[in-house]
Symmetry: C2
Amino acid sequence: MVTIKDVAKATGVSPSTVSRVIADNPRISLDTKKKVRKAMKELGYHPNVNARNLVAKSTKTIGVVMPSSADKSLQNPFFPEVLRGIGTVTHDMQYSMMLSSGGTEEEMFAEVERMVYGSYVDGIILLYSRMNDRITNFLREKEFPFVIVGKPYDYVSEITHVDNDNYKAGKEITNYLIDQGHEHIAFIGGSRDLIVTMDRENGYKAALNEAELPVCEAYRIHSEFLQSGGREAIEKLLQLEYSPTGIVVSDDLMSLGVLSALEELGYDVPTDISLVSFNNVYLSELTSPALTTVDIQIYQLGVQSAKALIEKTQSDFVPEKRIIIPHEIVYRDSVGER
Amino acid sequence: MVTIKDVAKATGVSPSTVSRVIADNPRISLDTKKKVRKAMKELGYHPNVNARNLVAKSTKTIGVVMPSSADKSLQNPFFPEVLRGIGTVTHDMQYSMMLSSGGTEEEMFAEVERMVYGSYVDGIILLYSRMNDRITNFLREKEFPFVIVGKPYDYVSEITHVDNDNYKAGKEITNYLIDQGHEHIAFIGGSRDLIVTMDRENGYKAALNEAELPVCEAYRIHSEFLQSGGREAIEKLLQLEYSPTGIVVSDDLMSLGVLSALEELGYDVPTDISLVSFNNVYLSELTSPALTTVDIQIYQLGVQSAKALIEKTQSDFVPEKRIIIPHEIVYRDSVGER
DNA sequence: CTGTTAGCGCTTTCAC
DNA sequence: GTGAAAGCGCTAACAG
């Protein structure tokens, strides 16, 4: 391995001078800089991060925590897309990205502890937000820099987070259904203790309330698996006295399941039933019919969260606590008029 | 930050002893071990990775390189799933996982260079395999430990890789279509220079050959985007004199697109046309009809690649060069008899 | 503008 | 069984 000393020797300067050249210190003459840089090229010198991190007390690495891989939700294309956003920023700023896995909650917690205590990372991005999350609490108590993609369950004004206005989005997309003449609108969402689900559902309820349409319990389904158990739930929904003519689904991937369930039960979308959902991942244009969905700009969620976190770790600069990524409804073919 | 010295002082032993306790060195008496461990707990000591890595000349971190995020394929649920597999192993072995992003090929290459030269990682897993890949060549020339998920373009007997027998899988799934009475079978695949595509396509061709069915150029479509451009391609396919009654699609996500194109063109699957594909990601059971697809055990691909890589980096132990993960056809509802 | 020196936190000979 | 000391590769005062 080529070290700073080798470069120093080859150039006839001291190691510290080389170090300064690396840091592009203005107090070094252009001449020596050139000389040193040339030698670095020739010798194939590359700084050793560990040595640097050790003294700098910073790793220029951010940890990214995905939700427990136990549930199927990990296969959601949402994740590669946020990662892509985060990756762009880390790359641009010469940062690295450490990914945390962990099957069980216990394992995830252990990983985070390791990252934090072992000085693996300068900060952490949480790619989920749920009620009473142990990791969130830990990070908060330790005052370790972190940002949440989504809305924190509590301490909303204290924890930096990058989110959509899911309440508003839920309301808007429901209103769209209402505008199209729908009066019986159901909601199908993921796990109840995910904050996204809650927000979108609340938006949905608000829209119905304002339109003076009934908000009934039987119209709201929560499930993670849409293949078998989900089908039954939908079946029940459609056997109600006033079966819904429109459904708000909290996620594109779920919509796929709903779509297939409806098809199998002999309902046509959008003729018999209209469907709207959230996220606008790639597959939402591949379904048939293509989904009318809320584009939440996943990539931007990633970008902004990484930016906010890095800002946070670098200086004591305090970024905005709540960063909202605008959303937009993408109108496609899954909604019909009544 | 609590260091090894603090623990030493608190216990009344020397730093080196503490270090030995951490390494669980057998030459330390059980008594002192207990004493030291107690102090570590109380003080909340956690070893600093950077310091350790610096002297150990190992980072216990593996780099994972995803394909260029430029193309949509990144949204493929394949990726979270391999990552999950890799994550399980890294977690179990107390390793970390560094994810590499990069929009352009140039950026990706730069990232890999940084990881390698900067001693960021002990080894690298490549999550794609394409012809004449610069990164692959670089890693090979530098003799840096790496494994490919998929089959290398060349040096197959030299580069450690974890793969399915995609040729065989392609043949089997095509044979299944043939067994069901199909005689006109098309192939729709992703980018031509992806090795997976080539292998699966070759298997497809072999099956047709053996069954003495015609293998014609017009029956083979390559595309990455299935929404608009893909639709036209399929349309053409179905206007041929002998339009296919069965289609082998190289990936579940693509199947979604094909499915929707067919539906829009008024074809029913599987009544009019049968469809088979590869991967068996979660969404393949959510489509309608649910897809008959080859389960390639994505999770296992991840697990085995991580295992092989770590073995490789730890000792000079040489793992099997070609590790094959068995596949299995999952029969669902997208195929009909002729 | 550049060199000298100390030290980041840890491991690892080499003594005893 | 344990301690002292050196050093991993780099940065950052402090001199000059």
